[in-house]
Amino acid sequence: MEIVQKILDGDIRAVARLMRDIDDEIPSAKEVLKELYPYTGKAYVIGFTGSPGVGKSTLVDRLVDKLRAVGKTVGILAIDPTSPFTGGAILGDRIRMQRHFLDSGVFIRSLATRGHFGGLTRSTHDMIDVLDAMGKDIIIVETVGVGQDEIEIAHTAHTTVLVTVPGMGDEVQAIKAGIMEIGDIFVVNKSDREGSRKTIRELRNLVELGLRRHKTEGPPWEPPIIETVASKNKGIDELYEAIMKHKKYLFDNKKTKLERVLFDRAKLHFVGILRDQLFNTVLKRARERGEDLDELVAKIVHRDVDPYTLANKLVERELGDSK
């Protein structure tokens, strides 16, 4: 396929259009992704997550300086929420990344969640594969700042950076539950503000607690806590060093750590595809029989049938026994 070669050559328009087709769920995009898959798996993926406005985009912008200075090419996926009421979105992460617009070693794509929950978009894994195939060394994913459910990015990135700011005690509580599962590195950004020390202390306590509770196979990783002032470029070297250290940790522990990350990502990706395909197939067949989704739902509303029986019927009809 001509398009495959264009992607591998890093053709901007071809890449941009393929990403569009992926997001719009155009069937031909899947054929291209199939051909690209053998060329993926080389890039290192870094995730940035944390509540809205904590400074994720500004940090990414600064980190890109560092990465470019050491000669790495970078792909950025910047995710913002879709309005559930209108289906529209304002994608504003680029505002903080203007300095890199003319650097051919940096490709930035803004993505809208389009109804997907969990911090990423339905398309994120495919988008990562495209950036990977086009030859980007490092891929940075900035999640939509949900501040609650960050497990998707943790299962997607090699290194996940969880960003918080001073005085967000509630947030520290919120991340308490899954702290060791989510953040490989913690950043207290805007540490020019009051309360930075206190937030760091709280985080350190949580990390220590987490380390004791959360026993895994292989040597443990103690998440560093880094103070930054992204807007003034402070602490960025330390953040970069921490990411490199975590990368080394993964590669030093291939079997127990690196392969685990890759496994988690592939599983999340595959399960998503399988679920979508099953769902779409069942609905498509139903439509072919003249049963429209809204009409099926109406039956449930009218208490003609319960949702379980109806779902079972549709699935069983296509796949045989599903109980």
Binding site: I12, A16, D24, G88, A89, L91, R109
Partner: protein, 140 residues
């Protein structure tokens, strides 16, 4: 399922003045009309605007301007789009323009100019009528 082409729009503000209120208002209106709006803030050079438009695969570029630099930046943007074979991207402008400049801007390919006082609904209606998500045909 799926196969719904979403309209993607870049709202950019070339020029040196730092007032982006107008741009923000239109960005919000476009979001409420169901478009995906890439918003990049102030002080954009033509090169930055075109690079963003290409990477984001937008259907429409909306240029907001106050400072009067449009007779430099608009032609430059059109030139760069042409260089990249991206003339299929529709370009519109909004803001304060001397009346005599408007025909000149249309001549270089700016599809429409919206002057102060234009109703947001009218702009949205114009976009819905005149801009189709690219590749919509294959999706149908």
């Amino acid at each position: 399922m799926g196969s719904d082409r979403k309209l993607r729009v870049l709202i950019a503000k070339p020029g040196l003045d730092g007032h982006d209120r107008g741009a923000r208002v239109i960005a919000r209106a476009f979001r409420d009309a169901g478009f995906e709006v890439i918003y990049t803030g102030c002080h954009q050079t033509p090169e930055q605007i075109v690079s963003t438009a290409l990477q984001e695969d937008v259907d429409l570029i909306g240029l907001s301007i106050l400072s009067g630099a449009h007779m430099y930046s608009f032609p430059r943007i059109m030139e760069l789009l042409k260089e990249h074979n991206a003339e299929d991207i529709v370009v519109i402008g909004g803001g304060i323009f001397p009346t005599e400049d408007i025909p000149k801007l249309k001549e270089i390919g700016i599809k429409e100019i919206f002057e102060p006082g234009t109703l947001l609904e009218d702009i949205i209606q114009w976009v819905k009528t005149n801009v189709k998500p690219r590749g919509a045909a294959e999706a149908a």
